[in-house]
Symmetry: C2
Subunit: 154 residues, 2 copies
Amino acid sequence: MNNFENLEYNSLLSSFKELLKKNNLKFTKQREVVLKTLYEKNDHFTPEDLYILLKEDYPQLNIGIATVYRTLNLLEESLMATSISFGVAGKKFELANKPHHDHMICKTCGLIIEFQNDKIEQLQLEIAKVNHFKITSHLMQLRGLCKKCSQLTT
Amino acid sequence: MNNFENLEYNSLLSSFKELLKKNNLKFTKQREVVLKTLYEKNDHFTPEDLYILLKEDYPQLNIGIATVYRTLNLLEESLMATSISFGVAGKKFELANKPHHDHMICKTCGLIIEFQNDKIEQLQLEIAKVNHFKITSHLMQLRGLCKKCSQLTT
DNA sequence: TTACTTGCAAATGATTTGCACGTAT
DNA sequence: ATACGTGCAAATCATTTGCAAGTAA
């Protein structure tokens, strides 16, 4: 659970600025365009993906990939972004302004489908309770083939 | 689903040898001790963990870490082992002779608790069906605090 | 004998870090 | 003016790979 669900851009921006101030960090153009792009594109990005996109969209900024990594890590630590891991293949980040959801990931084309299921969440809580385990977060990924790729394969 | 569930060591070993033969690969001491150690310790290991353990237990073998990586990858490709990912922090492998299960992972002490829930698996299949997605595997991890660590924290 | 395998060290690829310069406050 | 942030290049870390020597079949 975080405090950023369903926020529009201006509210996210305010939260971000507040958070920066609270930690004696500065509001820079680089940090701004990372947040803005994640919001506008409303998608999942690897740091590399986002770096390339920012180079295209804001060439005059001449952003460095290290800054992209630093900003994504900052957003994730502040709970304004979340990431899903692809093992050694890296991580993809998304803003945390959407309600909680999990992911289906196509092994062939990388398509990500989001889903949410209350019954599963409920069952997870029950399982945790039986094991005296206190859940702080969970990761659920269904891996396989999306409609398109499973048709190509067949 | 794989064919290794509930197998004892001798059967696993036979399967492994068969699999090696089928692929014109050789049965070596290094491959043997990796399989054997995973079986005997019945636990989850990073390649590094296992490498250190094998160095201790079989010092005369002088196994290299590259061989540990190669063997774990071979076992995983052959479906005799599975891995769970910890993001950038790496992967942990375990033998696939146990029935399918998922994991609870303690963020503080690293304890792994295994669990299995048919209702959740069923719900996952339904969700996939609705989205025309063909599941080949899934990853479900509940992260948080085990009984012991949540008592220490409180 | 003939491949395949191994350990080693070098290569790789993603991510992080040190540093001198730039910039928000 | 004073931190903090940035881009760059070098460093790091886990993992993979090339190669000459070793070993299973």
